[in-house]
Amino acid sequence: MKKLSFYFLLTYLSVQQAVAAQSVSGHIDSPEPVKQLVVYAQPEDASIKLNQAQKTVLISQKDTEFHPPLTAIAAGDKVQWANDEGKEIDHNIFSLSPLTSFDLGLGGKGSKLEQLFKNPGVVNYYCSAHKNMEGKIIILPNRYYQLLDRPGDFLIENLPEGNWTLNAVVLHLRYKAEPIQLTVGKTPVKDLTLKIVKK
């Protein structure tokens, strides 16, 4: 019985090695006006198994601002807004985005309000009571992404082997990324250049 278990373990470990993951890294080549962007990878093969475990991402409400104002999540994740104000201030979180519209009602000091985001896209949200409270959530198709405050080097880790497309959501509406096709194999993919160009 012990021998059998040992062989099962060996088989399991060899399967794990077959779907080993690698990192993809490189540089964003971008014009000067471009600031925040999200680099992300999308699988081209339906057979690629993705890490799709749901996460809850936190956004704080403090000093009548959202922290951070820009959040990136994967489709299927939840966002939780915590009212971390130092005094009794109510906030209402709502969005009229065509992708996901919601009204989470009123949340007082210490409250936590949640919303699930099922589909990829961009959602703008607001507090209806406070005029400077505006935030943006970028929902990516999966968990293989990196949010950059400005163009520079990027690194996406743990991509399963297979064919992928590397792309970016560029917040400056005048620009877009030129997607790159790539194959993830047994070694890390390095020195890629993702170009940001005018639409």
């Binding site: 600031k35 209402n92 009229l96 009602g105 009123l106 961009v122 209806s128 406070h130 509406l173 639409k199």
Partner: protein, 236 residues
């Protein structure tokens, strides 16, 4: 408090005059306003008086400087979609701090006249945030110059500058829409309309829009009042 509000509403209602009846024509008119979230209003009315809602029992919500004062909003729009409208011209001034208006509702094909008071050249463009391909670029506008830009795109758009993030005006562009800018609580009217079916659009950039179909009959005035709130727009 409730009776005071009721009285105010009744007084405002009395101020909305119906258009004159024109033979063979009809009209639509009413009042457009915006209001806080209903839960906020409820809490304002029932709060004990120790917080930001404290003065509500003495008559009205006490708005802090950082709050949205819905009673004083002045960029509400009502639009009527009808055929054969001549193109309109809308005006904006760009300064280094931002645009003179947060929003403009217009008909696709209307023009926006921009005066560049930023002290630097600006490259304005219009984009649909939901589409990579919907983008319209304009010739560069040097400092101190004024130019007219025709808007060809339709939808919920953003007028932006390539050179300054602070320069942003949201556009609601709809074919054949005649739009009127109102302050909260203002009355509006579209008269001298041929009988038929029309679409009314009520919009505030932060609260979104409500669309409503209206059927105009000859020698008939239809009254449509609307209050834009977060919940009314989302549940619409």
């Amino acid at each position: 408090m409730k009776y005071l509000l009721l009285l105010v509403v009744l007084m405002l209602n009395a101020c909305v005059d119906a258009p004159k009846v024109i033979k063979g024509k009809g009209a639509v008119y009413g009042m457009l306003s915006a209001d806080s979230h209903p839960l906020f209003n409820w809490k304002a009315e029932h709060d004990s008086g120790s917080s930001i809602y404290g003065e509500t029992k003495q008559g009205g919500i006490k708005y802090q400087d950082n709050m949205v004062n819905y009673a004083k909003l002045d960029e509400l729009y009502v639009g009527l979609v009808q055929a054969n409208l001549p193109p309109q011209l809308h005006h904006l001034t760009a300064t280094a701090d931002g645009m003179s208006q947060k929003s403009i509702a217009l008909a696709t094909g209307d023009s926006i006249q921009i005066h560049n008071n930023t002290g630097r050249s600006q490259n304005f463009f219009v984009a649909n945030p939901g589409s990579d391909s919907d983008i319209q670029t304009f010739p560069s506008l040097v400092a101190g110059a004024t130019a007219n830009y025709k808007i060809d795109l339709e939808g919920d758009l953003e007028l932006l500058s390539e050179d300054n993030d602070a320069l942003k005006t949201l556009l609601l562009s709809k074919k054949n829409m005649l739009a009127k800018r109102l302050s909260s609580g203002d009355s509006y009217q579209f008269d001298n309309l041929d009988p038929g079916n029309y679409q009314l659009i009520f919009w505030y950039w932060r609260l979104g829009k409500i669309q409503q179909a209206v059927q105009i009959q000859a020698e008939e005035n239809i009254r449509v009042d609307k209050v834009l709130t977060v919940d009314s727009v989302i549940r619409h």
